[in-house]
């Protein structure tokens, strides 16, 4: 479990990162927290020519409260965001979801944008972003583009990001009045990859329910409340193409979407 040889550049600026990505493309990997990449490198499941370390790029290490969103730069660690005293007021769903990400040791290193770029279908941050209708800012040497979370995640570990682009920022929409936020996750142990994770933004008539760990990407559905909810949850459950794996059956995952979804939304 030793990685293949690679070059390493500790980038000094965003510009330098983008130039390196333009030059190396697919052959380069960004390293920030390394919580997924290091394991993959050591198992030689990835053998990039170059690692671009963005940990020292100060201009990417920002958390900014804007009019309509909380913007988080590429070099911000998960622990840093979670420790923000006003987080529960600004983006309550994040305050609920983030303690479920791995363990505090992994959150101390792992970055917010890194988790989004990695696009693990069980991960909490992509789920939160999709549920809230957030955005991802991608930048290459040619320019910047902003993409909706629902379009960004395209499959397992697969996103709309091009090889020369960097996830420079993710934007979490701010708390909306009258909405109740809830989050729940079922995993074998605390901190494990979710078997099913559910994020909900609950309004009076309608609810946005995000489901992680079931489909090949986080998925958000707008569901009615009240008598129509069970059927809508059943449709959601079936639509996610749940799979069996060594930890849980597809039927179990669907049932959790239905029953746990109902429990989460209606609070019973």
């Amino acid at each position: 479990m030793k990685p293949a040889a690679f070059d390493y550049i500790r980038a000094e600026s965003r510009r330098q990162v983008l130039e390196l990505l333009a030059e190396y493309g697919q052959e380069a990997r960004i390293i920030a927290g390394g919580q997924s990449l290091m394991a993959v490198l050591n198992m030689r499941l990835a053998q990039p020519k170059l690692l671009i370390d963005i940990n020292q790029v100060a201009e990417l290490a920002y958390i900014e409260l804007r009019k309509d969103c909380l913007a988080v730069g590429a070099a911000v660690r998960q622990a840093q965001l979670l420790a923000r005293p006003t987080l529960a007021d600004e983006v309550p769903l994040l305050a609920l979801a983030m303690p479920w990400i791995g363990h505090f040791q992994t959150r101390n290193r792992g970055t917010v944008c890194g988790s989004v770029a990695h696009a693990d279908p069980s991960a909490e941050l992509p789920l939160s972003l999709v549920t809230l209708g957030g955005e991802i800012v991608l930048e290459s040497i040619k320019g910047k583009r902003v993409i909706k979370a629902a379009e960004f995640f395209q499959g397992i570990l697969t996103t709309d990001k091009r090889a020369d682009e960097l996830v420079v920022e993710v934007r979490f929409p701010l708390k909306r009045e009258g909405i109740i936020y809830r989050f729940q996750e079922i995993a074998m142990r605390h901190g494990d990859f979710a078997i099913v994770s559910l994020a909900a933004c609950i309004g009076i008539d309608e609810v946005r329910l995000g489901v992680g760990g079931v489909a090949d990407r986080p998925v958000m559905r707008s569901l009615p409340r009240g008598a129509a909810l069970p059927d809508a949850l059943n449709e959601t459950a079936w639509s996610l193409d749940a799979q069996d794996d060594v930890h849980a059956s597809a039927a179990y995952r669907r049932q959790l979407v239905r029953e746990l979804g109902h429990r989460l939304i209606e609070g019973v």
């Binding site: 142990r189 059943n234 669907r254």
Partner: protein, 1000 residues
């Protein structure tokens, strides 16, 4: 045999039985430990990496390492041919024509089996060069299920044996047939115990220097014993025992039995060192460890009892199949026979029938694992007791109580030969019931059930054997075979105490501790006997087979420390004490029997004269001429101890498989979440009788650790294999071990009935909860759910499906997978279907697909495509998802052509990541607008490293990769240059049509 006489021991110290804090910890907690990997390496040490089989069962047709030899830093490659030239197969405990070599020579029989060893200047370079070793395999059908492996249709692993059942024995004790005939009830249960292991933090480490001049293999390895395996290693290396110098390091990162399994690698690295003429070091990594180190056996048991109306059991019948993996590796089939003498558990059951079958399957070979044999036996026996209570409508605790061995019957000879040394099982249960608060748990259960919640209570009564009889393994042979082979029995333990010129005491034991605190307990015993300060004693636990006293029973296993090792330390200390007493008697002018030791002094009773310990002891070095007659001078005593109760199996197959038998009684109260199936343990009570406790703090630590592992086995740990033989638990993300938040603190209770057979009255205590906890939790779940078919591990998904999933149907109109998914899932085969619309007529799409240039363009990451025959290609491809990429040498073929309606696209590839094979049926459906709806159903089987570490990702990854093929085809058909915007619109259309995104 119990020598312990408190009045002989100093009145001043009282170390034995004290909650002494561990003397080991100051170093370990400050990072000053010295583990195997920390040991200094000789100059010029090279590093090894191992080429391992990605296939569960295959014939090796060629091994070509010429490329590897050209790679940077590579100094040699060890292959099966070398091994055949220099070494021998490992000796096995049963007579069968099967060969197990340290490197595969003709076939591979499990995923992860070593095929070659690359030796290079660093581990990095060695791993680089793994890709330079090309192994050609002819795949054979694997067999994974142990019951299916016993059938005639099953593929046979070892052709010369002709069957996968490599050992079968029948045992009969008492009059079981008659008892079954006369019994008013017969209660039967079939249970399966899964594969798991106790995973140490530190993996295997081997450092070998082969002496070309001496022919001696000088080895440092974190081997834990039993040292009977030293002879197995020496035989395999084809040298006498004195040419294999085996040393163990000072500290251990844990073993739990697993480090026994390092022995094949000692042989392998010995030969590697010989091949390159330099010292070779190998450190096992976690992936290697999980897939290829060792594990406990998985077992299928049918168990039946003849039962009276009151729950009294008059006879038991076991029919057991033990799955030992691909090779019967020494000391297997010991998993069966370690428990054989006490198969009737804590119960006075006189009639017993046993059928034991050892079966081989395409899994990693098994070996020692904490609890060795116990979890499997008690899962059957204690589940049966609970089931009897349910069937006869009795209280399960009553059924246990009515069958216990009477308290006044010890030592008690059990039906199969165990001589249960001491105990009071009734008192142990009473203690657990009272101090564990069973009444309160029963009240909670009533209340929970009244509220419609799922609450259950489980019990388990377990005999915990310790100090194995080295002869028990011969019970695998018939009495005739045993007579021919000569008797084997006993368990020799050794200890040496040295007193230096300044009166300083050092002790050596051959117990190779793996973190349990042996140094502390040994110091306690010696301090007590010699009356010196505990802190002043140095205990050395390294073992060097060239210098130290050892025997085949040496090592750290079968919980032999407290009874056997601490016992022999006590005896060695008595020998030193007796010599010192004689010297002191002469110097202080008293009788030797009036001499006492304490407070660093040697003195005469009743306030008589005294002298410092160091003065009397020092005299043996400084003034030997003044010592009493017969005293030789110098002060070093080695004691050997072997208990006479450990006799060889007799002609009636009675075997006293262990010297001591402790008692464990557990109670578990738990609640199950009806929705999630999660188990919340309310309280866990565990009551132990381990004879005299030498250090209750160490004992409690052992109980906590065993409990955590038992909990893991009950709830989450399993080495999962697909039916296709692929190994699916290659990382700690898939092989789940409980961590601190998952482990509650059990209520620990103690009872002490000293063993009459060990010098200090102590018994082993390390393994009880590994045996009792899995079945106790299972019984509680059976009670909560009212079900008998409990299968471990009890994952939330499994528990929820036992509660029942009454699933509402798929809504009308939602796309249904068309039958492909309905086929029984074949192991880890990934099956799915998908579709893509291509703006061209079917004939054009079909023709395009048959064009090699198209194929090269649409196969993701295709570097080169070479025609091999009609519609058959060889391709060099790099495929992957996200950051994960692997380069494969692939074969691609198009077949079953039915233009322009359907065809079959198949591919297979191998890489250092593992192998993959898949095929897709492709249908070309003409749409009303003349376009083609291309429907494809595929199946992919992956094996090797990719499957082991990425099983969670496989389904999604194959969807992405296969999706790429057809979206690229679509792209190509509809024109090479599709504008981004246009393509995005098309994809958006697909999303709307099928609810699925096309991959980029």
């Amino acid at each position: 045999m119990n020598l312990y006489q408190p009045d002989l021991v100093s009145q001043h110290s009282g170390h034995i039985g004290a909650r002494q804090t561990r003397v080991e910890d100051a170093a370990l907690l400050r990072g000053l430990g010295c583990y195997a990997d920390d040991a200094a390496t000789p100059p010029g040490t090279l590093h090894a990496a191992i080429v391992r089989s990605p296939h569960p069962h295959a014939r090796i047709t060629a091994v070509d390492f010429s490329q590897a030899l050209l790679m940077k830093g590579v100094r040699g490659v060890l292959v099966g041919e070398d091994v055949k030239r220099w070494a021998l197969p490992f000796p096995v405990g049963v007579r069968q024509p099967m060969e197990h070599w340290c490197v595969a020579v003709d076939k591979v029989r499990y995923v992860g089996e070593p095929v070659a060893v690359v030796i290079a200047e660093s581990r990095y370079l060695a791993e680089d060069a793994l890709e330079g070793v090309r192994v050609d395999y002819e795949q054979l059908p694997p067999i994974i299920d142990p019951e299916a492996a016993t059938t005639e249709q099953a593929p046979v692993l070892h052709e010369a044996v002709g069957s996968n059942v490599v050992n079968e024995r029948h045992f009969r004790y008492g009059e079981p047939e008659q008892a079954f005939e006369q019994a008013p009830y017969r209660v039967k249960l079939k249970v399966c115990f899964p594969r798991s292991s106790c995973t140490p933090i530190e993996c295997y480490v081997v450092l070998v220097q082969y002496g070309r001049a001496t022919g001696i293999y000088d080895v440092l390895a974190n081997f834990q014993g039993p040292y009977a395996l030293h002879t197995v290693m020496a035989r395999a290396l084809n040298v006498p025992s004195n040419r294999l110098r085996l040393r163990t390091p000072k500290d251990s990162g844990g073993s739990f039995g697993i480090k026994q399994g390092v022995f094949p690698y000692v042989v392998m690295m010995g030969l590697a060192s010989r091949k390159v003429g330099a010292p070779v070091k190998w450190v096992e990594d976690r992936l290697e460890h999980l897939q290829g180190a060792s594990s406990a056996t998985n077992r299928v048991t049918e168990i039946e009892a003849a039962v009276q109306a009151d729950g009294r059991i008059t006879a038991l019948r076991y029919d057991q199949i033990d799955d030992c993996g691909a090779y019967l590796r020494a000391p297997e089939p010991a998993t069966f026979y370690r428990m054989h003498g006490n198969l009737t558990g804590a119960y006075a059951i006189r009639n017993l029938l046993v059928r034991n079958r050892v079966v081989l399957t395409n899994k990693t070979p098994t070996g020692l694992n904490r609890g060795f044999g116990g979890p499997q036996v008690y899962f059957a026996l204690e589940r049966l007791l609970q089931h009897i209570a349910v069937q006869l409508d009795l209280d399960p605790l009553e059924v246990i109580r009515r069958n216990l061995v009477p308290a006044d019957a010890f030592p008690y000879r059990a039906a199969a030969g165990a001589l249960l040394d001491s105990g009071n099982y009734q008192a142990g249960i009473d203690l657990a019931v009272k101090d564990g608060g069973l009444d309160e748990l029963l009240r909670r259960r009533d209340q929970a059930r009244g509220e419609g919640r799922l609450y259950g209570i489980g019990y388990a009564a377990v005999i915990e054997p310790s100090i194995s009889n080295m002869g028990y393994i011969t019970a695998a042979m018939t009495p005739e075979e045993r007579r021919k082979a000569g008797p084997k029995n006993g368990a020799v333990s050794t200890a040496t105490i040295n007193v230096g010129p300044l009166g300083d005491v050092s002790v050596h034991v051959s117990s190779t501790p793996q973190g349990q605190g042996h140094q502390t307990a040994v110091a306690q015993v010696v301090a007590d006997v010699l009356g010196v300060a505990l802190e002043s004693i140095v205990v050395n636990v390294e073992l060097d087979t060239q210098k130290d006293a050892w025997s085949i029973a040496s090592g750290n296993y079968s919980s032999r420390f407290a009874g056997a090792v601490a016992g022999v330390v006590y005896q060695a200390a008595l020998k030193v004490r007796d010599r010192l007493a004689a010297i002191a008697a002469a110097q202080l002018q008293a009788k030797p029997e009036d001499i006492r030791f304490g407070g660093g002094k040697i003195f005469v009773i009743n306030g008589g004269p005294a002298a410092p310990f160091h003065r009397i002891a020092g005299a043996t070095h400084w003034s030997p001429g003044l010592l009493p007659e017969g005293e030789p001078g110098g002060l070093r005593e080695t004691a050997f101890w072997s208990p006479p109760q450990l006799t060889a199996p007799d002609d009636g197959d009675l075997i006293n498989s262990s010297l001591c038998y402790g008692f464990v009684f557990d109670i578990c109260g738990l609640e199950i979440d009806r929705v999630t199936g999660e188990i919340h343990i309310d309280r866990y009570v565990t009551c132990h009788d381990a004879g005299r406790l030498l250090n209750p703090a160490l004992v409690d630590g052992q109980i906590r650790g065993g409990f955590a592992q038992g909990l893991g086995a009950a709830l989450m740990e399993e080495f999962a294999y697909g039916e296709d033989g692929s190994f699916l638990s290659g990382t700690f993300a898939d092989y789940l071990v409980p961590t601190a938040p998952e482990v509650l603190d059990p209520v620990i209770l103690h009872l002490e009935t000293p063993s009459p057979f060990t010098p200090l009255g102590a018994k082993g205590v390390g393994e009880g909860n590994n045996m009792s906890t899995p079945v106790c939790i299972a019984n509680a779940v059976a009670d909560a759910l009212g079900r008998a078919d409990i299968r471990l591990p009890l994952t939330p998904s499994k528990v929820r499906s036992m509660i029942g999933i009454d699933e509402p149907p798929r809504p009308a109109g939602m796309q249904q997978d068309d039958g492909f998914d309905a086929e029984p899932a074949g192991g880890s085969a990934l099956r799915a279907n998908d579709a893509v619309v291509i703006p061209a007529p079917p004939q054009q799409v079909f023709d395009t697909l048959l064009d090699p240039a198209t194929l090269a363009a649409i196969i993701p990451g295709c570097h080169a495509l070479e025609l091999q025959g009609e519609n058959r290609y060889r391709a060099d491809v790099t495929v992957g998802v996200g950051m994960i990429r692997a380069r494969f040498e692939a074969k691609v073929a198009l077949s079953e052509l039915d233009p322009p309606h359907s065809l079959r696209l198949s591919g297979s590839g191998t890489s250092s990541m593992g192998s993959a094979e898949g095929h897709a049926r492709v249908r070309f459906v003409e749409l009303e607008n003349g376009h083609t709806r291309l429907e494809y159903r595929y199946q992919v089987v992956v094996s090797g490293k990719v499957a082991a570490v990425g099983s969670r990702m496989m389904q999604g990854a194959s969807k992405v990769i296969i999706g790429q093929i057809f979206t690229r085809l679509s792209q190509r058909v509809s024109g090479q240059a599709i504008a981004d915007g246009w393509w995005a619109r098309l994809r958006a259309l697909f999303v709307r049509l099928f609810g699925k995104g096309g991959a980029q």
